[in-house]
């Protein structure tokens, strides 16, 4: 479960995230949408432990990300919007690296790695150094790495960037399966079709504030008030 309680993030005098509160229960797929610079990535980075909130609390399965970071992060997997990898490691070595960081036993890592390599179809180049990878290859390895330790919470920022249609399909199906298995998924995306298809609930953020929070039913009702298009809802809420 993910819980944000009155979370604010300021950079000097600029407020990037302004008093956000929301809960993502186990098994829910939450979509986080907003225009560029709205505060999506900042919110996600606070949840992943890369930023500290200026005010408020972020709890992952009841553990505060700031006060008990190791416990909170042990449940979490984070997939950043830009998949930077250690360029001198191969994809396989990177997967082992991530598995080790989550304190997995060697045999468990080896087994899981073979699974994700097959699932994401990365076997052809997983033994090349990541410095030679394209954007899409890096993204697939990063998502694969996020699944190695079987997280209970998945925080994912723009997962479909750089992926070809086949990879998008694989990732989409994987995320759906994880949600069905009870994983809380918090995903930011610019892709409205993806959000509509995958998310149980969506939140819209604009200028650091949540301007809409609701289920697919609420979203459908809002769409009907306009011209029935999700795009119009997005533009209306973020204008």
């Amino acid at each position: 479960m993910i819980e944000l309680r009155n979370v604010t993030k300021k950079f000097g005098s600029f407020t990037a995230v302004d008093n956000i509160s929301l809960v993502v229960p186990p098994g829910e797929f939450f979509g986080f949408l907003g225009p560029n610079g709205a505060g999506k990535t900042t919110t996600i980075k606070m949840m992943a432990g890369l930023f500290s909130p200026t005010e408020g609390e972020i709890l992952i399965n009841g553990f505060d990300v700031v006060k008990e970071p190791i416990k909170a992060k042990s449940y979490t997997s984070y997939v950043p919007d830009q998949p930077f990898l250690y360029d001198k490691l191969t994809g396989r070595e990177f997967l082992y690296f991530i598995g080790g960081l989550y304190k997995m036993e060697k045999s468990a890592i080896a087994e899981k790695i073979e699974e994700v390599i097959e699932h994401f179809e990365i076997g052809d180049w997983v033994d090349k150094r990541t410095e030679d990878y394209s954007q899409g290859m890096r993204q697939r390895v990063t998502i694969a790495a996020a699944l190695v330790h079987q997280p209970r919470v998945l925080i994912i920022d723009e997962p479909m960037i750089g992926l070809d249609p086949k990879s998008v399909k694989i990732v989409r199906e994987t995320l759906k399966m994880m949600a069905r298995q009870g994983v809380s998924i918090f995903m930011s995306t610019h892709s409205l079709p993806i959000a509509e298809e995958l998310c149980d609930r969506v939140g819209f953020i604009k200028d650091g504030r949540v301007v809409f929070l609701g289920t697919q039913e609420h979203l459908q009702a809002y769409k009907q008030k306009l011209d029935g298009k999700f795009e119009s809802v997005f533009l209306e809420l973020t204008k």
Partner: protein
């Protein structure tokens, strides 16, 4: 040429904007840099003046022999700048994304080469210029240099000398790329390393000013005029000899001869730069393509049944987090050629220095000479450790790069990766520092009929100096971390690195000032056959330990806290 100056203009503007932005943190860092640069500049000036005065007036070895010592130091400077430039130039000329970008624009390969060559030379030599200029100022102040003489020597002698070293480095690098494409990178690098070692060993074998002093004293020669005839033919025609001859003839008031040697150097530098441009025009782009071949050949790691020692698949007795962090450090280091080659070169340099000083024959039983000699070796040993720590520990946090998100978002106590970096760095720096301490103290132990006190002090000091320099560089490297810069050499030449380097030098000079009085008393007691009161060194040793421990703790805490900043 228009495009060339156009690009230079924007590089300059970009540099000015990034250096002088209006944020408070930048202003504080700038002020701090200025303060440390200023303090160091004054110290370098005073040291050069004091050493020159002391050597000329007290030791009475004469102008010529003194300038032979300077020639030796200039040779070491040339080789250091040269080797450093080979390593740095490889990154700047072949790994820089700016080069790849400019190749897609209507800019000639030669112009791109010149841009990056100048970029590299100026970026990596800025601190050297300052050190050399201030030392020249102090040296020249003793001999009553005019402002014009200072400027002439700096810009028409020393600057061309450093530039010549950089030109030779780049020529060697491009030759290496051509040869390595046929014979293999490792064979060629090994050959080059052997060549450098042989060159340095031969130079020190045939150029020993101490032997010259002793020979001159045996023959009761006037140490200036008569000794000039003893100068070796080949060595007298090396660029370092020309520079020291310029200084020597200026000191003797012979401007004509100084001009001749200066002109030789200037013409040689100009000719060498011309050769560099010609070779770059013919070969730079081809050599750039060669690096891709190397990369493609080396970038596939076989994951068959046979596992190498540090293979991630191999089980380990270490806990999972420690194991993967160590293995990651290992692969990130040894798969980046500029890292391990540079380390190997520095280890060789340290080894050569240690063996050279270990064979010193110290017969002059003069307190001041032995004290100065010991302090020079002590300071130089510290300087070697300082360079090592700066080059490898300062960038240690920064080279995690943007991939550091993996560790920050994992259930990992950040003390673990920090401790790993500290332990590995401390082990390497301490080992080399102890090697230098043992070899540089050995001649003094021999001279003092095997009294080990200086050896004990040397080892004790090596431990604390290594601890402090490693802590300072790792800690401040974390504070000044730049996760966007991938090149560790550029990180080690950044403003933060320069500040750290200068702080390290201030620390070393403080140690020298702590040690000077008890050391003088020791040599005095030795040469006058008086008993030496051991309590004389208790206070300095305690001060050394307290200062080192305090600095180390402060720097390590600063570094650890910096890991918790927003990423």
């Amino acid at each position: 040429m228009g495009i060339f100056f156009h690009i230079l203009k924007y590089k300059f503007l970009s540099f000015i904007k990034s250096t002088f932005d209006r944020r408070l943190v930048t202003a504080v860092r700038g002020f701090g840099s200025l303060a440390v640069f200023g303090a160091f500049s004054i110290a370098a000036y005073l040291l050069a003046y004091a050493v020159t005065k002391s050597v000329i007036e007290q030791t009475r070895i004469g102008l010529f022999v003194y300038h032979r010592f300077i020639s030796m130091m200039l040779f070491v400077l040339f080789v250091s700048v040269n080797m450093g430039n080979i390593i740095v130039s490889y990154s700047t000329l072949y790994k820089s994304s700016e080069v790849g970008y400019l190749f897609t624009k209507p800019v000639s390969f030669t112009q791109i080469f010149v841009l990056k060559f100048l970029d590299n030379f100026l970026y990596s030599s800025a601190t050297f210029f300052l050190m050399v200029f201030m030392a020249l100022l102090g040296y020249g102040a003793y001999f009553g240099y005019s402002a014009l003489t200072f400027l002439a020597v700096m810009f028409f002698v020393l600057l061309p000398y450093l530039f010549l070293s950089a030109c030779v480095a780049v020529l060697i690098l491009m030759s290496l790329m051509k040869v390595a494409s046929r014979w293999g990178f490792r064979k060629v690098m090994s050959g080059l390393a052997i060549l450098y070692i042989a060159m340095v060993a031969l130079f020190f074998r045939y150029s020993n000013p101490i032997e010259l002093v002793e020979y001159g004293q045996r023959l009761n020669l006037d140490t200036s005029a008569s000794m000039m005839g003893l100068d070796s033919g080949i060595l007298a025609n090396l660029p370092n000899a020309w520079v020291s001859n310029v200084l020597f003839y200026i000191a003797r008031g012979n401007s004509a001869l100084a001009f001749i040697h200066g002109a030789r150097l200037f013409l040689l530098t100009a000719a060498m730069f011309g050769v560099v441009l010609y070779v770059a025009h013919r070969f730079y782009y081809k050599s750039w393509l060669v690096t891709f071949e190397f990369q493609a050949r080396s970038n596939t790691v076989q994951s068959g049944k046979r596992m190498k020692v540090f293979d991630f698949r191999r089980t380990s007795s270490l806990r999972p987090q420690m194991e993967v962090l160590l293995k990651k450090e290992y692969f990130q280091f040894f798969r980046e050629s500029s890292q391990w080659i540079h380390l190997a070169l520095m280890i060789v340099l340290v080894g050569v220095f240690a063996v050279s000083v270990g064979n010193l024959n110290l017969k002059l039983r003069v307190t001041e000479i032995q004290t100065v000699g010991y302090l020079i070796l002590y300071a130089f040993g510290g300087f070697l450790s300082c360079s090592l720590a700066l080059r490898f520990l300062f960038p240690a946090i920064s080279i995690e790069g943007k991939s550091f998100w993996t560790q920050l978002s994992a259930p990992l106590d950040l003390k673990k990766p920090y401790l790993i970096k500290f332990t590995i760095g401390f082990f390497i720096v301490l080992t080399l520092a102890l090697l230098v301490a043992v070899f540089s103290n050995a001649p003094f132990v021999r001279m003092s009929e095997r009294r080990p006190i200086l050896m004990y002090f040397g080892v004790y000091s090596a431990f604390w100096v290594s601890l402090t320099l490693v802590s300072l560089n790792l800690g401040l490297g974390g504070y000044f971390a730049n996760f966007k810069e991938k090149n560790p050499i550029r990180i080690a030449s950044s403003q933060g690195a320069t500040l750290t380097f200068l702080m390290s030098l201030v620390y070393l000079m403080t140690l020298v000032s702590i040690v000077i009085i008890p050391l003088t008393e020791y040599f005095q007691s030795l040469f006058q056959f008086l008993p030496f009161d051991i309590s004389t060194i208790v206070a300095p040793a305690t001060t050394l330990y307290m200062l080192s421990a305090a600095l180390s703790a402060f720097a390590l805490v600063v570094g650890l806290r910096s890991l918790q900043r927003d990423f």
